[in-house]
Amino acid sequence: MLAFLLGKLLRGLALLAGVTLVTFLLVHAIPGSPWNNNLNLAQAAPGAGLDAAGQRELNRRFGLDLPVWRQFTRYLIGDVEPEGGFFCGVLCGNLGPSLRQRGRTVLAILFEPPEGQSGWESRFGYSLRLVLLGAVLTTGLGLPLGVLGAARANSALGRALSAGLAALVSIPNFVLGLLVIMVFASWLKLINVLPDWDDARQWLIPALVLAVMPLASLARVTRAAVLNILNEDYIRTARAKGLTRARVLWVHVLRNALAPILAFLGPALIEMFTGLLIVENLFAFPGFGREYWRAVLALDYPLILGVTLLYAAGFVLVTTLLEAAGELLDPRLRPPPAHREAP
């Protein structure tokens, strides 16, 4: 058991290291410089950005004048400060300074709550709460809807449900989010256009917009899995020996359908992480998704990298946990013991 978990952990760390390298190289392949990329500044007064000497000085300060491989080791392992003294990089959990938000580190931007408040009030805390709420909605609504759709597959209700779910899967969340804002905020005045995030009820709408696509796809997967199992012989046997429809459905069928559903849950949750970037932007939600866009527009390399790494870490965590859960539940999924490849 310990070896099993340790193996999963090592694999996750190796993946994260790979993602760090790839993202680092990609981010540094973006043309342009963070120092003269401010659209508003350039529009207000052409040439109002930093002069060449100032840019050189800043490049030297943040190590942007080094060759790329040196910048990478600087980011990953650490480097000597210009004033002397050593700082440690990502390996010590230091994601580096933000280039554009002066004097703040990436860690502080993402994880530090406002003065005197709990960790849930940080950028990361806000996003995490939204995702958790979305995950609860996804499983809480998606699973029953899927089972219902399968149990009533040939009735009018079942057909309407399956068409409705297909329609929900085909609406991108930015379209849905904007429609929701128009209808609920501008016309019906049920929510504020600029919501007050201390009011728990205001969270429901963005969480629902975030959850709709994963919810609908989870329901579709559940429906297909349950339909497949309903055709099995042992289900007919269970019904024939006198068990009630409900008992067969919720115990015999659902338990056997759980494996494909669980396998799908990981991608659905990841889908939701991605949706955060869009939904936070639409609802002016103070999480790290909005911070990401700010970083992209300013070419704030360490902040872009930091958020991407945070995402990748979340992916690795979610998939590893679900994989482990799946393998513990169903021994058939475990990889076979290592054997030598036949020549």
Binding site: L15, V27, I30, P31, A166, S170, I171, P172, F174, I304
Partner: protein
């Protein structure tokens, strides 16, 4: 095509709906240059921000020349909408098959080769699946802006490369598992025993047995790429205009939707029509895929 259950397809309302919608939109996409009343790229500041032709506001009046009005640069909305259809189809018909070809190839190699090569391929697949795809695509848009010629082609290429680069992995996994199962079967062993080369076995014996997986994957992933194109058009326009003022030169429904956001009160059709187009096209492909997937199940009475 005698093996295809035409009778069942003709009876299914959903199959009719999706086939007709896809055909109709496909026709619009193919005939866009002839249907569009104006050049969708041409800026015309004197005609900027016109409402649809049947609307007359205090600021400006609609003109029959521009049936659905113009955007803030004076480009005809109807023409852009028609060309947006073209982009969606273009992408669905290039990016998805490209990703499918990559995925099939990688899956065949990873499944049949074994050893270090397969391990390296699987590590690459794991890595790409861990990469946050939307962020990867945003970085792609940022890297490729301003490179090559600044044409619509560049934008489309970004979308195709960005999609294909990460999405082949799920198919590669599917194919690999199928190949692992096939390669222990008797007909493969027989071929190997008479001295057939690995390439020949893969091409003539294994590929025909996994091709149905690739085809199903293509149909199932077309809606995904259409939605992705919309998201990218949406953020692509937002990101590139903000970063260096140049426009993301690909006419996509997502981009139209983005532009329509600020024109909501003047011309809500700039928002509604691209959204409706997206919904229709993606829904038709999903229903088509559902119909094809459901063929293996007995028909409900």
């Amino acid at each position: 095509m005698t093996f295809f259950p035409w009778k069942r397809a003709l009876r299914s309302k959903r199959a009719w709906f999706s086939a007709l919608t896809i055909l109709g939109l496909g026709l619009v996409a193919g005939l866009a240059p002839w249907l569009a009343p104006h050049d969708p790229f041409r800026l015309n500041p004197s005609q900027a921000s016109r409402p649809p032709m049947w609307v007359r506001t205090a600021l400006s009046a609609g003109q029959p020349e521009y049936p659905l009005g113009t955007d803030r640069y004076g480009r005809d909305v109807l023409s852009r909408l028609l060309y947006g259809t073209r982009t969606a189809f273009c992408l669905a018909l290039t990016a998805v098959p490209l990703a499918a070809a990559l995925g099939t190839l990688a899956g065949l190699v990873a499944g049949y080769a074994g050893g270090r090569l397969a391990a390296a391929l699987m590590a690459l697949i794991d890595l790409l699946q861990t990469l946050p795809s939307l962020m990867f695509l945003v970085i792609c848009v940022l890297i490729m802006r301003g490179q090559l010629a600044p044409t619509w082609f560049n934008g489309l290429l970004t979308l195709v490369v960005g999609f294909a680069a990460v999405n082949w992995t799920s198919l590669a996994r599917l194919i690999r598992v199928a190949v692992l199962r096939l390669k222990t079967q008797l007909f493969v062993e027989a071929a190997r025993s008479v001295g057939a080369s690995a390439g020949f076995i893969l091409l003539r014996h294994i590929l025909p047995n996994v091709l149905h997986l690739s085809l199903a994957w293509i149909i199932n992933n077309i809606p995904a790429v259409i939605l992705l194109e919309a998201v990218l058009g949406y953020i692509g326009v937002g990101v590139t205009t903000a970063v260096d003022g140049d426009e993301f030169l690909v006419i996509s429904w997502g981009g139209l939707f983005y532009a329509g956001r600020s024109a909501l009160s003047r011309n809500p059709f700039m928002l509604i029509l691209p959204a409706a187009g997206l919904l229709l096209l993606s829904l038709s492909f999903i229903l088509l895929a559902d119909f094809l997937n459901g063929l293996s199940r007995p028909e409900p009475d």
